[in-house]
């Protein structure tokens, strides 16, 4: 079966859920090989990758790979593409994943598809464009298909693979070392799931009114085990940190359930959440455009509706 490279997303030694999704997707089209880039590889990570079907695991654990912006990961993948001639390369369609895909495409003279929400036979990708208005099927026509797949596009399903480990040494070029990371600043996120990976996202907008009031949104999120998001109006006002912004210039999310409270549904916001499977809206203005895409909407004051919803969910647990 043809080999498909899957770049592993990991944090603090844990394999992220999107990687398990990509391994699942790759299994339907060939035989996945996981590619681990950077330090932090552990037996637990290895077990996880094998559990979800990695036949091989390429491990390039040099610290240098993460000390420079994007280019080293693209160099690593380019080396593997040249050594192993895989049928395709899959990365997660995160901001960085797409940048890696872009550089890799040039290095390997291959086409690249970003933000795929599905992938079928012949590596034909499904994309949803223009804020969800048009569905496109596209494919790479030159080189090795490189596809950046959106988190939450596939349900991860375990199916054991051999997980044969292969160490990879890579000598980085000078140009790959040109942009050096000198400091990493972590801003607290709490125990909630990561925004782009979460199955449920609860977002608040200008209607929430203040940073303190975001506690109402967080309580609802916690009752559902959800991530918290925010509209740009809320992040601009400083009520919630920027990395939680959903929309065109924030994160694109595609969860099973998206709850929007006090958000009007501007096109830039919708561009980041329109492919959510189920959308629930709470807004006091029945004319708000977000109702147009709601599966269920409540016209009402979020300060009444959200706490009541949270309480009701807790009761039903």
């Amino acid at each position: 079966m043809s080999e498909i490279l899957v770049l592993v997303e990991h944090a603090d030694g844990d394999v992220k859920k999107v990687t398990l999704e990509l391994l699942t997707l790759a299994r339907s089209l060939g035989e996945p090989s996981a590619v681990w880039a950077g330090p932090g590889y552990t037996d637990a990570a290895k077990a996880k990758l094998a559990e979800y079907g990695a036949a091989k695991i390429y491990v390039a654990s040099s610290e240098e790979i993460v000390d420079h912006v994007v280019a080293p990961k693209a160099e690593l993948l380019a080396k593997l593409v040249s050594d192993a001639s895989p049928a395709a390369v899959l990365v997660a369609a995160t901001a960085e994943g797409k940048e890696i895909a872009g550089r890799l495409a040039i290095k390997t003279d291959s086409g690249v598809i970003t933000d795929a929400v599905g992938l079928s036979e012949g590596f034909v990708a499904d994309q949803s464009i223009f804020g969800g208005g048009v569905n496109v099927r596209s494919r790479v026509t030159k080189g090795t298909p490189i596809v950046a797949v959106r988190p939450n596009s596939t349900a991860p399903v375990a199916e054991a693979g051999a997980g044969a480990e292969e160490k990879v040494e890579i000598a980085l070029s000078d140009s790959a070392r040109a942009a050096k990371v000198v400091e990493r600043v972590k801003q607290e996120r709490g125990a909630r799931p990561e925004l782009t990976e979460a199955a449920i996202v609860v977002s608040g907008g200008r209607g929430v009114g203040s940073g303190e009031n975001f506690a109402i949104i967080e309580k609802l999120a916690d009752s559902l085990g959800a991530a918290v998001g925010a509209s740009r109006a809320a992040t601009d006002a400083g009520w919630y940190p920027h990395q939680f912004q959903v929309g065109q210039t924030g994160k694109t999310v595609s969860p099973q359930l998206y709850i929007a409270a006090g958000i009007s549904g501007a096109i830039q916001h919708r561009a980041g959440m329109q492919t959510s499977k189920t959308i629930v809206v709470i807004n006091k203005d029945s004319e708000a455009p977000i109702f147009e895409i709601a599966d269920f909407g409540v016209v009402g004051d979020l300060f009444q509706v959200v706490p009541q919803l949270t309480e009701e969910i807790e009761k039903r647990k």
């Binding site: 400091e183 990493r184 065109q248 210039t249 949270t310 039903r316």
Partner: protein
């Protein structure tokens, strides 16, 4: 400092955007063209760096003839001059061809710093800046919410999932910006008048020594196989809160097995 800002004309997101049925490319004639929103932030950052360090700001746009409207807007904000890469041979270029054409043009016009928006509202690939860095062999300083230049040293804050990275490099470099970086200025009346007289150099593919084999629809590295309007979302249920809105929402979530 010689700063080049890559500015793209995109269809207005407020109007209906379509793909052409003949060649499955974006129908640029169907909608009004506007400056890609994020590129205004790129122009603003270029102007601020020029104001602090001196130099010149050049706008670089690849696009059809009507993209001159966009160029004028950037000039009205305060950019000094523009290069407009415009040729029918470029129609249908994908990200690889666009980055190739822009990189060749950048090599020809020269730069200390190239600034891009991190994403366009039409293609939304978000790969152009990374591709330019790769093609130019220049440091990639992308997704910046802060840029500082000190002589030939440049430092940015790169937005990440967990917060941000501080990244250092030396010029020449490629930067992309996110919208938290600044507040773009509005063109003043004086600026709009002055823009009419600023030089705009129009280049065809041959002028920039771009190989016609590497650009345009026929040479693209990927293709649209088919497309269709997304089926409309089934109309949802909307209820008015009469003291039980939260309970009703919970019932809905339960019916969908979320609780």
């Amino acid at each position: 400092m010689n700063i080049v800002v890559c500015v793209k004309q995109v269809p207005d997101t407020a109007t209906e955007r379509k793909l052409r049925s003949d060649d499955k490319t974006l129908d640029r004639d169907a909608a009004d063209g506007v400056v890609n929103e994020l590129d205004e932030y790129a122009v603003e950052e270029a102007l601020r760096l020029k104001e602090a360090h001196g130099g010149e700001v050049t706008v670089l746009t690849m696009g059809p003839a009507k993209a001159t409207e966009t160029i004028r807007k950037a000039l009205a904000m305060g950019a000094d001059k523009a290069v407009h890469l415009s040729d029918d041979a470029l129609h249908g270029s994908d990200a690889l061809s666009t980055s190739y054409a822009l990189a060749e043009t950048l090599k020809k016009i020269g730069f200390d710093l190239v600034i891009l928006g991190s994403e366009s509202t039409d293609a939304r690939t978000g790969v152009l800046a990374a591709m330019l860095a790769e093609r130019l062999g220049a440091p990639q300083l992308t997704l910046a919410n802060k840029v500082e230049v000190n002589g030939s040293a440049i430092t940015i804050q790169r937005v990440t999932d967990y917060g941000f990275d501080r990244v250092e490099a030396s010029l020449p470099a490629v930067v992309s910006v996110v919208e938290k970086i600044n507040e773009p200025r509005y063109p003043s009346f004086k600026g709009i008048m002055a823009a009419k007289k600023k030089p705009v150099e129009t280049l065809a593919v041959g002028d920039a020594e771009i190989s016609a084999e590497q650009v345009g629809l026929a040479s693209a590295w990927s293709e649209v196989v088919e497309f269709a309007a997304a089926p409309p979302r089934a109309a949802g249920t909307v209820v008015k809160d009469e003291g039980d809105g939260g309970v009703k929402a919970a019932e809905f979530l339960a019916s969908k097995k979320f609780v």
